[in-house]
Structures are given as C-alpha cells and as structure tokens.
Symmetry: C2
Subunit: 199 residues, 2 copies
C-alpha cells in the first residue's frame, strides 16, 4: 500500500495485496470481470487448499476473455485446483443467479473498462455495473470486500466512475467503509475503490 | 494503511504512519500548520535523537495555536528535545525564509482547515496554500514527502481541495507521485493527499 504512494507498485498489485489481507483458504470469492484471468488466478491461489472448499466464480460477457482465463488457469495450476474455478459467460449483474443458495462471499473483484488486448469497443457499462454492485452489496458477507479497479481512459470511463461513486455515497457509514485511491497527476491511471462491509 | 480501508484508523493516524516510513532521526521536517501541536510533537519524536541534529520547523498564523503547541511540547518532551522545535508566528507560504540555507527537508506536513477548538472563522486560504505548496515543492529533498490532510466541512474547504488538486495535476509524473485517498461515503471526512518527490 505504501509502495503505491511511493510509486513502486501498480494499482492491480495494490488490489491483490489488499485481497490477501481479507481472503482465507476455503473462501468463496467472485471475479466479476475475468478479463484475461490474472485476477481469477490470483484469487484461486488465495482460496485453494487441500480442503477443496475454496471457490472462485468468474464472469465475463466476452467469450474470448473466458477462453483466455481458462487457458491461463490450465498452464498455471493443477486440474484439481482448476476445478475450484467456475467460469460463466454471463453479465456480472447476474452473479447471484449462479451462486449456490446462502453462499458466504468474502470478496468480489471488479476491473472496469475494456479487455486488455481485446475489442476496445466492448467495455463494462454504467448501467450493468450499477446493477452488479447492488447485487454484490447483498451477497457479500460482513467482513468482506468489494474491490474495484476503475479504468477511465476510454469513452464512458468517467461516467462509469461516477456511477461507482454515486453507489458509494449511498452506503451507510455504520455498515460500510468506502475508500477511493487516485493518482492526481496521472489522469488516466486506474482508480482504486474498496468497499469494506463492516462486521 | 490497510486499517484505514477497513475503517479502523483515522486519517491523521494514517498520515503519521506514512511519515514514520519516510522520516529518519536527525532529519529536518516542517509542520506547516502547527494547530494544537499534535503533529509537531509526532514529528519531533521521529527526528529527535542524541545527535541533536533533527529539527522541526513549525508555522501558524494564529498565536493561540503556537501557544498550545508550545505548551504541549513543554509537558511531553524534555527541554533538550523541545529545543529542536522552532516555532514561527508566520504564514507557511514564508517557510523558506526562515530555514537555514541549503537545508534538506524530508517532510512537509499540512493540515488544511481551521484550528480545532479555535476560531472557526480563521481558516487556511487557497491562495496562501497554493503559495506554500509551490515553496514546499522546491525545498523538499528528493525522496521526501509533502503530506496534506484536507478538511472540507467548512466554507471554502472544497475550494481549497480544488487548489491542492490543481497543484498536483501539474506535477510531472517523472518526478512526483501524487496520491489522493478519500472516504466516498463520508462527505465531510478529511481527504489525504501525499506528494512523494521521487529520488
């Protein structure tokens, strides 16, 4: 975290460090935007152990993203571990529909923007992001975290950030800590938002 | 730092933790807004050792603030340590004028707003804050930090934050990391801004 302030870490690295402080072996977590699967893999490594209880539910509306994520997992973990990841070619606003009933979700991670290396005209949209956050808020367990890395350099990126901020403003301070971390002299740098559901 | 995201620490506590990672014994540091002296005291404890080389230069435009800071130091440290603090009843925009020539300054701390418990009509002003930041930028050593805790709940608070942000936007990314940390669902919570001058 301090490394970020001192310019030695990237936003995604900071996000991973914070996830590591929250996520435990055997947890259920959600990668709301699989992209090329780097977050999915990082999350899997945090929840996987010999108990086989850990689960990573991954979502993306782009088939190519899920294929990339699946390939990355294939070459990075053993088949038993890969089994702990459930990938869905669906919008993250539908995440509650595929989860087993009464699942306690420790972390829900969003990467908002377009697929790196993919079709830049396909971006996450403010409307479905707002819907997904509303769902995420409900299914997250107390002591859990919603983590957002918001890219703002593409058309619609700023509006999506505003949608996230508006969502945060309404979260009651008694139950939520909503922290936004931003690089002021790098206008296109991703913005970090962490929503912690108090115990 | 993580404690802040999880709602367990106050903004000023986070600032102190970050200062501790930067400031070394024997350093020269500046408390640009002494207030009641709590930051001055914290800084003194970070720089003071038996070498007697450490210095804290403190500024405030309110005499009562300097009296309070002086009293706090009186009861908190021994006279030798207190000697390492130099308090000035001057605006922080004049900080360079009282420093010995060629002083390397490791940290410059600002608390923007009004004096807690004091006259709420006396607040730091955007114009002198901008001037002070321009001076601070020059006298800070590479590897040093400008730390700002910006209170926004009083009239003019938001404008002052904008002044700080405008100042940050112009700092070249090659030489500066400018990180803003904000609680999104606590509109009146102080905002943290850390400007790290790269080595």
């Amino acid at each position: 975290m301090l490394s970020y302030i001192f310019g030695n870490k990237k936003a995604t690295e900071v996000a991973h460090l914070i996830w590591e402080r929250i996520v435990r072996k055997g947890d259920t977590v959600i990668d709301a935007t699989c992209g090329n699967g780097y977050d999915t893999l990082a999350l899997l490594r945090m929840v996987a152990d010999e108990s086989g209880l850990g689960r990573v539910y991954g979502f993306d509306v782009q088939k190519v993203a899920l294929e990339n994520a699946s390939s990355l997992l294939e070459v990075s973990v053993n088949p038993n571990e890969k089994e702990l990841v459930k990938l869905f070619h669906r919008c993250h606003s539908e995440m509650a529909e595929v989860l087993p009933e009464d699942t306690s979700v420790r972390l829900i991670a969003f990467n908002l923007g377009y697929l790196p290396g993919g079709d830049k005209s396909v971006v996450t949209e403010s409307q479905t992001t707002a819907e997904a956050l509303t769902v995420a808020k409900e299914i997250l367990m107390p002591g859990g975290l919603i983590s957002l890395v918001v890219y703002v350099g593409h058309p619609g990126g700023r509006e999506e950030l505003e949608t996230v901020e508006e969502f945060c403003w309404k979260l009651p301070v008694e139950n939520w800590t909503c922290c936004k971390i931003q690089m002021l002299n790098r206008q296109l740098a991703p913005i970090l938002v962490f929503l912690f559901k108090k115990c």
